[in-house]
Each structure stands twice: as C-alpha cells, then as structure tokens.
C-alpha cells in the first residue's frame, strides 16, 4: 500500500457530518492527513483543489468556533471594503470589479440590518476575465438580484455543516463559501458565478453540490491506486468498485486461510509474536502481551524452531504470491505488501508492548 496516511483516525470527524452532526469536516487533524495525502503526490499549483485543502479548513475551524467571517477574508481586502461601504448596491460594485465576476450577496441589500457581519469571504485567484464582455451579462443578471427580495431568495440552506468548495475550471474559479452569522441562524452562500451561468438559487445549489461531489471524488482517486490517470467519473467509479470488491474478497480469502491454519480460532499470538520479534528485537513483550492475549497450549515446543523460520521468508514469498494470484488483481503488489506486512507485525507487536 502506498503512502496513504492515516486518514482513518480523523474520519470520525469527517464522515459523520452529513448525518446532521456538527463535526467539522475541516478538522485540523484531517487537514494534516489530507496535506500528506494530496500534496505529496501532486505538485502544488494554483489549482483549486489544493487551495481548497490548504485554505478552508483552518479558517473554517475558526469559523465554526467564532462565526466572524471577517477572519475568512483571504485575498482581496479592497473588494471587501468596497462591498462593506456600498453594501446596498452589490450589483454596482460587481460591475466595477476588475475581475468582472458576479457576486451574490445575500442579505446585503437589506438596508436596515446592521447586525450582519460582512459576509464577504472570497478566495479569489488571479484570473482576469474579459471585463468588457461580461458587463452586459452582469447587468442582466444583476438586475434580478437587486429586484428580488434578496434575503429570502439567496438563502441557500446549508446541508448541515460548513462547507467550502472550489470549482476548478480552466476559465474561472468559483468560490462557494458559507459564513455563519451571529444574528441569524441561516447561513448565506456567497457564490461567484462563472460568466454566462445562471445564478438562481437552484442552479447555485446544484453547482455547490456538484463541487462537493467532485472534491470527494478527487479524494477517492488519490486513495485508490491507479485512478489518477483515469478521467471520467464512470471509469473512476469502476475502479473504485473493483477495488472495494477485491478488498472484500481478500478478507474472505484471508479468513478462510486463517480458519484452515488453526484448529482453534483463538490464535497462538504469544508464540507468534515471539517468532517475529525473537530474531530482530527484544523479547520482553510476551510477558506484557500475555494478559491481553489468550495463552495458548501448543506454543512452547515450537519456539526454538521459529528463529530459523524467520529466514525462510524468502521462500514464503513466492508461495504467497502464487496463492494470492487467483484472487488479487496485482500480485506484485501483494508480494510487496507481504514484505512490509511482516515488518508491520513486529512494529505492531512492539507498539502493543509500549501501549501496555
């Protein structure tokens, strides 16, 4: 298995969030894991995905704890001030903008509401749009924004958690951010639409959803070996399905193997661990392992034989590879992992010892 860091421990934060629990998808631990996961194989460019990975989580954590979205402002303070100053006329300011992007501000055209924090939190990249051409498009789309009661229309319901997604397109970048506010419970989604795209709430929500799914698909692609080169969701999903099926089959096969090896299913772990570590490391741990593991009857006579068994690993490996080849897709990979798994057993044993 390649350098897949332990996202497992932090998954507890990650995966429960859609169940309505407010655990942070962007927990800090998760950030570290994902950093290692993503930034190691891929180069850090200005692509949105790594930006997503780097920037939102720590800020989102802050956001969760103190819903002051001013902390979240990353790149362009002058835009923020512009918007703050003229918060009654968002369409005008968006026209003035050099990037010529259309920004949707929910609740900003509401004159009297001063309790709201500045909802601006855009992570803008330096992509210059063609300002001239987009202005007419913006004027058209800006009008409905102003004319609607924007508060109610632009309120896009959060799906239960804070979420920042960045879409990466060649032309432009869209940033969808949610900021929590003190006065109101409902967050607002601030979206920068690409030019020529519809900006009603349905398509915005749809786009946000799609960005979320794409971001997660990228994670999956990193995780499953061999998916990086494949483009296209269907093929990637194919690979993922194959991978899951092969892992499940491996579990079946290994449990059958374990059942065949032992006449009883409580394993001879004490002597097993001595065999592993006796040749390499100290052998203090059996005493420690004993209270936890089931003391085995048959173990004692075999201990002397274990030392030279360790050297016959090389013989074991081709046997393992051949056995395994029927069920596995990548036999060479299994050989490699066999080698490392043998080491991992010793590591495991020693770590168990430390723990106990």
């Amino acid at each position: 298995m390649e350098s897949n860091p332990g996202t497992t421990e932090t998954r507890s934060n990650l995966t429960a969030s859609d169940g309505g629990q407010v655990t942070a998808f962007e927990s800090l631990q998760f950030t570290d894991e994902i950093h290692r996961l993503i930034l190691a194989p891929t180069t850090i460019n200005a692509s949105s995905f790594t930006a997503l990975v780097e920037l939102p989580p720590p800020q989102a954590v802050e956001l969760l704890h103190s819903p002051d979205s001013t902390k979240f402002i990353a790149a362009k303070p002058p835009n923020v001030e512009d918007f703050k100053g003229s918060f009654r006329f968002p369409s005008n300011t968006s026209l003035i903008e050099p990037d010529a992007r259309f920004s949707v501000f929910s609740g900003e055209a509401n004159n009297g509401n001063e309790n709201r924090d500045s909802p601006v939190s855009k992570i803008l990249n330096s992509n210059l749009e063609k300002a001239v051409k987009s202005e007419p498009a913006e004027t058209e789309s800006a009008q409905p924004l102003v004319s609607d009661p924007p508060v109610e229309k632009r309120r896009i319901k959060r799906k239960g958690r804070e979420n920042k997604v960045k879409g990466s397109t060649k032309k432009s970048k869209t940033a969808v951010n949610e900021s929590s506010e003190d006065a109101e419970k409902l967050p607002y989604v601030h979206v920068r639409a690409r030019r020529g795209q519809a900006t009603d709430s349905h398509s915005l929500a749809e786009r946000a959803r799609r960005e979320k799914i794409n971001a997660r698909m990228k994670f999956l692609q990193e995780l499953v070996p061999g998916c990086n080169k494949i483009s296209g969701t269907a093929l990637v999903l194919d690979e993922i399905i194959n991978h899951v099926q092969s892992l499940q089959r491996q579990v079946e096969f290994l449990s059958m193997r374990l059942a065949a090896v032992n006449p009883r299913i409580d394993f001879n772990l004490d002597s097993v661990f001595t065999s592993e570590s006796g040749s390499l490391m100290d052998s203090n741990f059996p005493g420690l392992v004993m209270p936890v593991m089931w003391p085995e009857v048959q173990g004692d006579g075999h201990r002397q034989q274990y030392q030279h068994q360790w050297n016959s690993d090389a013989l074991q490996q081709p046997v393992w590879g051949r056995e395994v080849h029927n069920n596995y897709i990548t036999p060479e990979k299994s050989l490699l992992t066999y080698d490392s798994s043998a080491n991992s057993v010793t590591l495991q044993a020693n770590q168990l010892k430390m723990e106990l």
Binding site: N4, G6, T7, T8, R11, S12, N13, T15, A16, D18, G19, Q21, T23, R209, R216, M217, L220, L223, V224, G232, A234, L237, I240, I241, V244, L247, Q248, Q250, V251, E252, L254, S255, M256, L258, A259, V261, N262, I265, D266, F267, L269, F273, S275, W294, Y306, Q309, W310, Q316, W320, T337, Y338, S340, S341, A342, S344, V345, L347, Q348, Q351, L352
Partner: protein, 183 residues
C-alpha cells in the same frame, strides 16, 4: 512507517477478543464455521473501531445485532451495554425518516424509469446513466449504502476502503505469522 498503526492495534485487540468469545461458545467447529466466525468478528471489530461515527459501521453493527446467535460476540467487542445504545440511538431518530423518504423516492424513480425505457441519445445523458448505474453498484457494496445520498456515499466509501485495508493487512500478517508458527 504505518501511519494508521493505532487503528490496526485497536482492530487487532477487538478482533482477538471477539475470537476468544467465539471459541468459548462452540468447541468443535468445522472449517466453514470457523471462517464465518473469523470474518464476522473481524467485521465487527472493524466497525466498532469507528465508534459509531460512520454510517457503514453503524449499519454493519446493527445488522449483526439482529441475528440473535452471535450477539454476545458483538457485545463483547463493543464493550459494555452502555456503548451500544448510545450509538444506536443516534441512528433511528433522524436517519430513519430520511432513509425512508430516500428509499421511497428511489423506488418511485426506478418505477418511472422502467416505464420509460427510452434510450438517451445525448452523450451527457448516457454518461449520467453510466454513472448512475455504477453508483447503484457501489451502494450495494457498501454496508448501509442504500440510505445514503451521493456525497455521503463517497465519504463512506473512502472510510470503508481504508478500514478494509487495515483489516486485510492485519489478517494477512496474522495469517503469515501463524503459518510460519505452525511449521
């Protein structure tokens, strides 16, 4: 070297506990029974290592708890009785209603699709069709996958893959070690 080694250790501990419990109950088991017991306790150990944070682990444990025969294994692995109700109580309240709605909706959609049976000509719809098919397959693979929306499904897949890998690693090392030990 192994970043998720603590998860492995946890899994190994729980698995051993479950196996001991299994061997308490039945003395002479055929090979298939043993295999089933091994796999069962491994699955439960893996699911309990998540502590009820992920959907697939919850559904795995609830499925296992339904069969009355091995419930004591589940109890032992999960620890005291107090742990399990805390986990299960989270599930029915919110998710049950959501799940029912989703299932009903998907049944309705499937019925509508069967009635239409038209072949989509546009390439985008063909692509969507393919993706949808694969998503359904993925849902059938992941325990408890039928009740998830797409975003949740992908996250659960990620988690499930990592825990399966942990399981495979531990089982493989144990198998190799015990093979070597028995020779």
């Amino acid at each position: 070297m192994r970043p998720h080694s603590s998860l492995k250790q946890e899994f190994l501990k729980k698995w051993i506990m479950g196996l001991q419990r299994c061997s308490f109950s039945k003395k002479n088991m055929s090979i298939l029974e043993r295999k089933k017991a091994i796999k069962f306790s491994a699955d439960i150990a893996m699911a309990s290592a998540r502590n009820g944070t992920t959907c697939w682990s919850r559904s795995l444990i609830s499925n296992a708890s339904k069969e009355g025969s091995d419930i004591h294994v589940v109890e032992q692995i999960l620890g005291s009785e107090s742990d399990r109700p805390a986990v299960e109580n989270k599930v029915p309240t919110r998710r049950a209603s959501v799940c029912k709605k989703i299932v009903k909706r998907s049944c309705r959609i499937r019925r509508r699709r069967r009635r239409r049976k038209c072949v989509a000509s546009a390439p985008s719809s063909i692509a969507k069709h393919l993706v949808r098919k694969r998503r359904e397959v993925l849902k059938s693979l992941i325990p408890g996958g039928e009740f998830m929306n797409e975003i949740c499904l992908i996250e659960e897949t990620l988690d499930y893959i990592t825990s399966l890998r942990v399981q495979v690693d531990v089982m493989r090392s144990l198998a190799s070690a015990s093979v070597r030990a028995s020779e």
